[in-house]
Symmetry: C2
Subunit: 308 residues, 2 copies
């Protein structure tokens, strides 16, 4: 069977199963280190798939730093050190590598993360992988496990930016740069880490987060579509005819945080977050669903799948 036929999630699950490991793992790998957890994460992007044509390499570098940092943010952690592994075609202009690294380092510097160099090898296209090390106090780690019925569901920031940018780029040829304008929610993750019961980042969209947290915690999650804080571009894309569930639920790429909060901690949580979050749903005992305009919908197909 080819990966094209298996689809990304199935392929990953098959490979992980074969190795006897959990496929619904947390955003970063973690292990005990004294009174803290060490966090380690790796992300890989391939130019032609993950970077829309016309986007400059500095933006791509900033995006790449941000999606790696987002994994640490989703765990409530502090990122410390980043290494870059590049595998690129000999036809690549040196300037592309330089711009990519400059964008990457700009974001690392902004968040106080040390850039420790890395590896550069001949490969195909433009493939970047990161190795990011971080830390979090044992009592503040945010895992995907921990959500319970009655918990409230919050998201940071605005939703639908990436999906809307993709739609407007495809339908009207608009600037695709907003697709990659990811803000790693490190400050929000740290603030939330004292209060939340579970969480993850919205790399693959709300539908995927609901599916993942539901399965890990054996609960349902009901999302109130009308409460979702849509990004201005998302409003524009929906007015342009885009499917609202595609924009708000399934496309992903926003890298906001999706957090579950025990109701008794909601007040403290909201004070700590200072308006940076919006309530969009609740953890329940029954099935997951989306409410929209008084109607109840089953969740649409989960987020974007590579390979298929």
């Amino acid at each position: 069977m080819l990966l094209r036929d298996a689809g990304e999630r199935e392929a990953i699950e098959a490979v992980w199963r074969r190795l006897g490991r959990e496929s619904l793992s947390d955003d970063a790998h973690y292990w005990h280190m004294g009174d803290r957890y060490a966090l380690l994460t790796t992300d890989v992007i391939y130019g032609r798939t993950h970077i829309p044509g016309g986007v400059d390499y500095a933006t791509a570098g900033r995006f790449f730093a941000a999606i790696n940092l987002s994994d640490i943010a989703a765990m409530g952690g502090i990122p410390r050190t980043f290494l870059l592994a590049l595998s690129v075609s000999p036809e690549t202009p040196v300037e592309h590598v330089e711009e990519f690294e400059a964008g990457l380092v700009e974001v690392l510097d902004a968040h106080g993360v040390e850039f420790g160099g890395g590896d550069l090898k001949e490969g195909c296209g433009f493939t970047a992988a990161g190795a990011l090390y971080g830390e979090v106090e044992a009592e503040r780690i945010i895992l995907r496990r921990g959500a319970e019925p009655g918990d409230l569901v919050y998201v940071t920031g605005k939703i639908g930016r990436a999906a809307a940018s993709y739609h407007l780029w495809k339908s009207r040829g608009e600037d695709p740069h907003p697709m990659l304008k990811v803000e790693p929610r490190l400050r929000e993750g740290r603030a939330a880490s004292r209060y939340v019961s579970a969480g993850m980042d919205l790399s693959d969209g709300i539908a995927e987060a609901v599916a993942c947290l539901s399965q890990v915690n054996r609960v349902g999650i009901v999302i109130d579509y009308d409460s979702i804080p849509l990004h201005p571009l998302a409003v524009e894309a929906i007015e342009d005819g885009a499917d609202p569930f595609f924009i708000a639920l399934t496309f992903g790429g926003d890298y906001e945080l999706f957090l579950t909060v025990p109701s008794e901690k909601e007040g403290d949580f909201l004070r700590a977050m200072g308006g940076a979050v919006t309530k969009i749903g609740e953890v329940v005992r029954g099935d997951s669903a989306v409410l929209k305009g008084g109607e109840r919908f089953a969740f649409p197909e989960r987020g974007y799948q590579h390979f298929s």
Copy 2:
């Protein structure tokens, strides 16, 4: 300028220089963590460049684990946790991914290293990047800096395996598997870490190690070619007409350790290493050189360069 025209080392140096960083960095990045150093390294390989045609994916996975572990071995460290980032074409059979991971995990398990999952994305060809975390006691870290005139130069294992396998594969169509049969010298690195003044792995060959340690330490290194412990395949390749300096000095890929030892510690070093090392030269105040059959040669062009 394209990477093809810059060549790998120049491209890396240009990129690192632009970012104000040192290009002659150690095998792994390191930072203080209490009484230890934390070690973090990343390596990336691309199937068509780094894996000869006909080699099975389990062997490639073992190779990939080994070259990452070698970076930690070269620092005298203990590898702890490994993450894998794969970027592969949709045309890739799922079995290739499974075999690669199985080979990788086999080597990680053999060295007590935890496999923490990773990332799998659509890309081109078969590109694998690793994120490996390790540790070493502060007083035992092996760096590239520290060699002084009068120190003795030792290598672990046998030299020329990878070059000879490459030669015999190209000239006679022999099995290319030995090219990838890397043994990470973790035990040797740990034992040596109490005695050596500097060291690195022979990923890029002896000529490259000499150039690197000479530059970092502002010394020369004289290698006695006739003392180099040639791998049986290297002897065979040289008998087949391969250039001895290409086989023993410039091709690389052996991932043995290249170590400098203060003369007053040589006795203790040799007892600790138990016959696993061979003396091949000396650190000097003058220029680097190779001695062979009573003649003195300037060092040949440094190791294999990608891109050009």
